[in-house]
């Protein structure tokens, strides 16, 4: 049974449609990146899964149950955007309170504090915590009761780069344990190697969803190939004559934009010529995101 099944979910919000016919699935042990601008419907989607909102039409199932169901909620961990806690409680007291509410083992509190690296600050009031420490406490809170579905809303906002990497490593470990994870983000760099699938939302519509390879294939974006070669030589001429875009990078290097299906052909030529400083850059998640945003704007002028 899939942790999340959303079918044709539409949500009207007093004259304004926050989600249009959303279809989204998440399997166990899968990490889904839910990407989009602010107001694209990411948080709304999370709230549907949590049962805080009900779809006007369509259905949402969490572990085969209706989303507000206490049994379903016990299996979900949620980290809200900009998580905050009771300032007057200590980190340990905060976790103890939430552990009781979730029916988690009391021993989990200290285990999780240890795991997120907050043992030393467990007695301190949350008021004195830094943003990064609060985020760690929020993550510990989300992990109470060993959830099989983890919903993280902008978990990296406010984290320093090191803490961000640490968070991603956490996700990798949880995925290996079979936890399904939905990661809402508009921060794209760095996330791509930690997600299995990406879903791109804009204005309440799902633009596309699939693995990175699928998204690349569908988008048909060119691969960028860089190498060192004299821009004034015959090469630019040659590449243009066979239909590739060429640009000089910095007086020494060239950048080619090559359709994915022709990259082998180009690369074998370059390898035969023993080209120096060869780099192959497939379209990044950011490129794909931008591509879909642009075509969404072209398709439906605002």
């Amino acid at each position: 049974m899939n942790p999340v099944e959303i079918r044709d979910a539409t949500l009207d919000y007093g004259g304004f449609t926050a989600l249009h016919d959303l279809n989204l699935q998440l399997g166990a042990g899968e990490v889904l990146g839910l990407l989009g601008h602010n107001g694209a419907g990411k948080t709304t989607t999370i709230k549907l899964i949590l049962g805080l909102l009900r779809p006007t039409r369509g259905s949402v199932r969490v572990f085969g149950q209706s989303p507000g169901d206490p049994a379903a909620r016990r299996r979900i961990g949620f980290l809200p955007e900009n998580v905050t806690f009771y300032p007057q409680l200590s980190g340990r007291e905060t976790l103890q309170h939430f552990a009781r509410l979730k029916g988690a083992r009391p021993a989990e509190v200290d285990e999780l504090l240890e795991q997120v690296g907050l043992s030393h600050a467990a007695q301190r009031r949350v008021k004195t915590y830094s943003k990064g420490m609060r985020q760690r406490l929020g993550l510990a809170q989300a992990l109470l009761g060993q959830p099989q579905l983890l919903l993280l809303d902008e978990p990296t906002v406010g984290l320093d780069p090191l803490a961000t990497i640490e968070l991603y490593q956490w996700l990798d470990r949880l995925r290996a344990k079979g936890t399904g994870i939905i990661l809402c983000s508009h921060v794209l760099p760095g996330v791509e190697s930690h997600i299995d699938r990406a879903a791109i939302l804009a204005k309440g519509r799902l633009l596309t969803a699939g693995s990175l390879a699928e998204l690349r294939r569908d988008a048909g974006l060119p691969v960028r190939i860089r190498y060192a070669g004299k821009p004034d030589g015959d090469w630019p001429q040659h590449w243009r004559s066979v239909g590739h875009e060429v640009a000089a990078l910095d007086g020494r290097r060239l950048e080619l934009r090559v359709g994915e299906e022709r990259q082998h052909e180009v690369l074998s030529v370059l390898l035969a010529e023993q080209a120096q400083e060869l780099e192959v850059l497939p379209p990044s998640l950011e490129d794909l995101y931008r591509h879909h945003m642009q075509s969404a704007h072209a398709g439906a002028p605002a």
């Binding site: 709230k47 805080l52 206490p70 909620r73 998580v83 009771y86 509410l101 029916g103």
Partner: protein, 274 residues
């Protein structure tokens, strides 16, 4: 039941931590002892006068204080959690909105109830020990009635505080509304009733007016605690003499107020968007 108690114990722990419980208990004890011994100072006497006089003064004071303290304690119960960012988190836990509300009510209700019990019992104890020849049975009876009805009055206003807290979108709005509720029930209502009496000059149905007292929990509270003061009652409470409701009915009406306010709070909280 368990989620309710988990919420309640946090509220109770907060009440101990920020010393609300201690402060309210002390306030009640000091005021009660002060009134018992100095209440008659205006008429030129110092020292304990009589039990009914002491209770009458205490009742007048608690009519003002109890609603104010209850509203202060609970006006931010829901809107405060939302502004603090914890409401969203709580509602994603295996916990219904009704359970959250009842849990808060139990927690705050215990704080208020304990403080009332501790504060006024201390005063009763002081009277029992320091006033020679006081009839203990009467003391126990009247203070018991006073403490229990004070709790009920406080709980009614707690429930009202949840209702406005569920309705308000900002903490400051909730505070303003709380002040408005206090002003209306404690001051305005009786004035309006008095005005009705004067303007009506008895022409208004004399059978109907006394029943209007049931629409105000603070009037119910005073009627419960001042049963024998018929002629000495000031203002609108004289209407109470024409009210053919037994004392048990007054108690029931006060309980009904608490439940109705809680139901309203739940209805409003359920409709509140997250």
């Amino acid at each position: 039941m368990n989620p309710i108690w988990n919420i309640a114990r946090k509220e109770l722990a907060d009440g101990l931590r920020n010393r609300w419980l201690l402060a309210i208990s002390l306030l009640f004890a000091l005021l009660a002892v002060g009134i018992a011994w100095l209440g008659a100072a205006a008429s030129g006497q110092v020292g304990f006068t009589s039990l009914p006089a002491t209770l009458a003064s205490l009742t007048s004071l608690a009519t003002f204080l109890m609603p104010l303290i209850a509203l202060l304690l609970a006006y931010d119960a829901i809107v405060g959690e939302e502004e603090g960012g914890t409401l969203l988190l709580l509602l994603t836990y295996p916990l219904g909105r009704g359970q959250l509300l009842i849990g808060k009510f139990v927690g705050h209700g215990l704080i208020l109830g304990l403080a009332t019990l501790l504060g006024f019992s201390a005063a009763a104890l002081a009277i029992a020990v320091l006033v020679p020849g006081i009839p203990l049975g009467q003391l126990l009876g009247s203070f018991g009635r006073f403490i229990l009805s004070s709790c009920l009055l406080g709980w009614t206003f707690l429930a009202m505080a949840y209702a406005l807290s569920a309705r308000a979108s900002e903490k400051s709005t909730a505070a303003g509304l709380a002040l408005g509720v206090w002003f209306f029930f404690v001051l305005l209502f009786d004035l309006a009733l008095l005005a009705l009496l004067v303007i009506g000059k008895g022409q208004l149905s004399a059978n109907l007016l006394p029943w209007l007292l049931l629409l105000n929990p603070t009037d119910l509270y005073r009627l419960i605690n001042l049963p024998d003061f018929g002629s000495e009652l000031g203002g609108v409470l004289t209407l109470g003499r024409d009210l053919s409701v037994p004392v048990a009915g007054l108690w029931l009406a006060l309980c009904a107020w608490t439940l109705a306010a809680l139901a309203l709070a739940y209805a409003l909280f359920r409709r509140r968007p997250i």
